[in-house]
């Protein structure tokens, strides 16, 4: 399958591990990601706070470039172009995904705004018709296009025994400007993906809560408390590793974990990896090809667990409890000693 690929600034460097592992995993699954030529920054949350039209125009340029580059070439001139599915643009970063899909939808809902943005784009000889692209997040493409079965078929080194806290953060599942591929409050696609890889997915009630975004740079009081809650939640459920799908979440939870420990007198030691890195490991790829080792909180001790693959997780000395719920019941929190085996 062919996709336009918008990496975003973070994946160029601070989250280089995400880009490397995405490309490696995509290769295994036969997904073809072609980078948008000469893309610019999506503006994150900063442009909207200062200059609204610049924020729309900035993302407008990316949309215009991508729509142009990946425009469907009709095989027969008879077939009207509208019949063809719009080309797909994949973003691995939650903020980029949000901005691209939001701007496309807002331009579609307001012809007046679309006209203004196109006036700005015209200064650079560009034009964008809303709806010309379908913007997707990488997780969506992995689980719905590649699919759980194809992923399961590639697993060579199951992540048996690794306790994973699946962290979605905010913008991937909310507010769904181009449709929601998962529940906005209690998403489960990443959980299922991790289970397919053989990992033990722990309950993680705060999995769709915000990491604070840029607040680490603006108010430590606000930011570190948000991070503390997330880390405590994952630690309470005895996770070995937090898995994420956004460079900002990874950066905040990983790089500022020491600051959290210092401020609150805690002792968190939770490595934070990208979901594509764990996919790559399960596919049997070398850790070096997946950017493992670039995190501040080293993941090697946790990953040693799966080095000894096949070794079952040690049974805890907990009495067997009756099953309290089935797949149809509402998701409720459960503590590690209540987990089903």
């Amino acid at each position: 399958m062919q996709y336009g690929y918008y990496p975003g600034c973070s994946l160029e460097r601070n989250a280089g591990a995400y880009h490397e592992s995405t490309m490696a995993v995509a290769g295994v699954l036969g997904l073809q990601f072609t980078e948008v030529d000469d893309w610019n920054c999506c503006g994150a949350t900063e442009f909207f706070s200062v200059n609204q039209m610049q924020a729309y125009a900035l993302t407008g340029r990316n949309l215009a470039l991508a729509a142009d580059q990946f425009a469907p070439q009709p095989a027969l001139p008879v077939i009207p172009v509208e019949v063809a599915e719009p080309p797909q643009l994949v973003a691995p970063c939650s903020a980029c995904y949000l901005n691209l899909s939001k701007v496309d939808r807002y331009l579609a809902s307001s012809p007046e705004l679309a006209a203004k943005v196109n006036t700005a784009l015209d200064a650079g000889g560009l034009h964008y018709d809303p709806g010309s692209l379908r913007v997707r997040h990488l997780l969506d493409v992995m689980v719905n296009d590649a699919g759980y079965d194809a992923i399961a078929a590639r697993v060579q080194r199951a992540l048996t025994g690794l306790r994973v806290a699946p962290y979605y953060g905010c913008l991937v599942v909310r507010p769904g400007f181009q449709g929601q591929f998962d529940d906005p409050e209690y998403p489960t696609t990443l959980d299922k993906l991790m289970r397919v890889l053989g990992a033990k997915v722990v309950d993680f009630p705060l999995k769709a809560h915000c990491c604070g975004g840029h607040m680490t740079q603006i108010s430590e009081d606000v930011a570190l408390e948000l991070l503390r809650r997330l880390l405590k939640n994952a630690a309470d459920y005895q996770a070995d590793v937090i898995v994420t799908l956004c460079p900002m979440c990874q950066l905040n939870l990983d790089v500022f974990q020491r600051a959290v420990n210092r401020r609150f007198g805690t002792n968190f030691n939770l490595p934070v990896l990208f979901f594509t890195q764990l996919m790559g490991l399960a596919f049997g790829l070398a850790p070096e090809r997946l950017g493992i080792g670039k995190e501040f909180v080293a993941s090697r001790p946790a990953l040693a667990k799966i080095g000894a693959s096949g070794e079952a997780e040690q049974e805890r000395a907990v009495g067997k409890r009756a099953k309290r719920r089935n797949d149809q019941s509402l998701p409720m929190p459960y503590m590690p000693e209540e987990e089903e085996r």
Binding site: L113, T119, A120, C170, I218
Partner: protein, 195 residues
């Protein structure tokens, strides 16, 4: 402003906020239910919950609203917007309040006084190179706006460099002049309010 289709209701400030938001945020539909504040991850640190702030906007309390730290503590997580039963575009309203507060110079006195400086420093780099340049952003932002905190952030910067997670030099897009022309035209349009 003048020949609007709907009868004019609400305060002058209410219309200013709605008019300065590119896509209608449906602010008039707010029921004052408080779901937004109850869902907000940083609601505890806000001087006014979003619900309170919207009541104050309707009441025309312009300066109090624009001096509030609330929009600056909004982390743009869209939890409120997802849950709002009236589909008010809450996050967009927060962005509008930030812009108005910057215009009036109130933002520098809030408890998140550095937030606009961070955004503006970020934007300077994007305007110059087309992409974010993290090492430059952090260095410039801290040295210029928070010099005393530089010692706190320095070990993190060093750790990022050691792990090759920071570029030493910015990456410039090829068609930077094209982007700059687009941004300049957008800036001219920014002055014209939504009718």
């Amino acid at each position: 402003m003048g020949a609007s289709k709907k009868p004019v209701r609400g305060s002058v400030f209410f219309h200013e906020v709605v008019g300065a938001t590119a896509v209608d945020p449906h602010l008039e539909a707010c029921l004052q239910c408080g779901t937004c504040g109850g869902s907000c991850p940083s609601g505890n640190d806000m001087e006014h919950t979003p619900r309170t702030l919207f009541a104050m906007i309707a009441a025309g309390m312009r300066e109090t609203v624009l001096r509030s730290n609330t929009p600056w503590y909004c982390v743009s997580c869209y939890y409120c917007m997802e849950r709002c039963p009236q589909e008010v575009h809450i996050t967009d309203v927060m962005y509008t309040l930030k812009r108005l507060a910057i215009k009036e110079g109130f933002s520098r006195q809030s408890s998140a006084a550095q937030a606009p400086a961070f955004s503006e420093t970020f934007m300077e780099h994007v305007e110059r190179y087309g992409r974010s340049f993290e090492l430059g952003l952090i260095t410039r932002y801290f040295l210029r706006h928070r010099p005393l905190d530089t010692v706190k952030i320095a070990p993190i910067g060093a750790g990022m460099l050691r792990r090759k997670r920071f570029d030493l030099t910015p990456r410039k897009i090829r068609q930077i002049e094209q982007l700059q022309a687009i941004l300049a035209r957008a800036d001219e349009l920014e002055g014209i309010a939504r009718v």
